[in-house]
Symmetry: C2
DNA sequence: ATAATAGTGTCTCTTAGACAATATTTC
DNA sequence: GAAATATTGTCTAAGAGACACTATTAT
């Protein structure tokens, strides 16, 4: 690798921010206020600052766009997209981060005047998004769905303390299937390191027996993994 | 995302190229001919050309460095590294690709005068590599080891037609463990879509009964996955 | 014959998945 | 009581892992 004068690139970060609200998996979108793609939905993002690490830039953009408490957020690098022409203005390489946030932080727009909104991913099945963001969203959804299988990532959608039923609803909504509550309960409580009982604490939902509260355990990988191979497919 | 004049970035691709030769998992390295890190080992890579897609740049660098037939190579994006200061000369964002190649293409250096070499990864356990390439290599190895579990990626280390025993040796060398040949054989031949028998063809090794030849099947995910959870650990 | 690899069969134990039954709450 | 959710237990089938045994080659 020799030092030569090649055309400079613009470096940006974009975000696939997912949450669950009103029984739907939703992605954070902004409405573009400028050309190109003015008025169209897009994923939030922005330029990387000169002395800023990539992950820091992603965290900054996320905070700017949502005001979310970053301590509660799962943030991981998804992939990088740099096809020539993906942005008609210049050559842009964008590093995309996937963020999972627990609660429905009100869709408050940040410093930008662009309106941020949580859109159900089922309403974005196609080409509504600007740039190559449809492909990026699809990649992010696939990553999230796959990682629920072999990591405790589903807990990133939950508050710090949660019931088994709430965790199950995360799996059902992200995977779009229904899971047997009894087998699910046995599975997650017996997978070592997945869940830690908070103690004698219980809570309530609306009706039904109160549930034990758990927090996320220390495991980073699930052995054995959760399986979505054969599901009831009694999904909504 | 507004168009502003930020400091331009240099965009490069680096490669973690893995192969198996003489019972060792090896990574392609070059010896740096210039400062910084002159004389030190590093991963191959180079600048992205102005009108070149990222994956194309990775493929080009791989071909330049090794002369490998790209049709036989598995190439996937690994991750992107852009911490300020990772290259002392300028702000560089490097998109790293992971490549798995089947055979020991002679360590021929390409157009560069830097000598390319296949180094066993066990000899690089630490800080020998330049830049942040030690971390990149570690990430690439982890990716490869993980993907052997739930994808047919191991076949990327094999020639187009291979025996079950050769495939097992790939798993054993990449995972650093020993696997029961009988259970392995039953597992891979019964996992749908993993292997396709080439037909009545057989081959030979040195001694022992000739083996059936297989080629990679159509599956992109393995159900059920190969497990390295509990291994004999009778590894070499 | 001996050594080495390929491949089949068998056994046990664990787990996934189906589902009955009980526990605890609200209405 | 009815309805809804939580939790435990039971059964069956499938798969993992251990390992005996047979098959086929080279020396």
């Amino acid at each position: 690798m020799t030092t030569q004068q090649y055309e400079p690139f613009a470096a940006t970060v974009d975000l696939v921010v997912l949450t669950i609200r009103t029984n739907a998996l939703r992605v954070l979108t902004i409405c573009r206020g400028e050309e190109p793609y003015k008025g169209q939905l897009a994923l939030p993002g922005g330029f990387v600052h000169p002395d800023e690490d990539l992950a820091d830039a992603a965290a900054r953009e996320l905070a700017e766009e949502t005001g979310i408490d970053l301590a509660a957020v799962h943030l991981e690098q998804l992939a990088t997209y740099g096809t020539p022409g993906r942005d008609p203005r210049m050559r842009v390489v964008t590093v995309v981060y996937l963020a999972l946030v627990p609660e429905p932080p009100r869709p408050s727009a940040g410093t930008d005047t662009e309106a941020a909104d949580w859109v159900p991913v089922t309403e974005l099945s196609g080409d509504q998004l600007a740039f190559d963001h449809n492909q990026i969203l699809a990649d992010g959804l696939e990553r999230a769905r796959a990682k629920l299988e072999y990591s405790p990532l589903a807990t990133a959608f939950c508050p710090p303390e949660f019931a088994v039923g709430e965790l199950r609803r995360v799996y059902e909504i992200v995977w779009g299937c229904s899971l047997d509550p009894r087998n699910f309960h046995r599975k997650v409580t017996s997978t070592p390191g997945f869940l830690e009982p908070v103690g004698k604490t219980v809570s309530r939902y609306e009706r039904g027996r109160p549930a034990q509260l758990y927090r996320c355990g220390t495991a980073t990988q699930l052995h054995p993994p959760m399986l979505r191979g054969s599901v009831n497919s009694t999904a909504q």
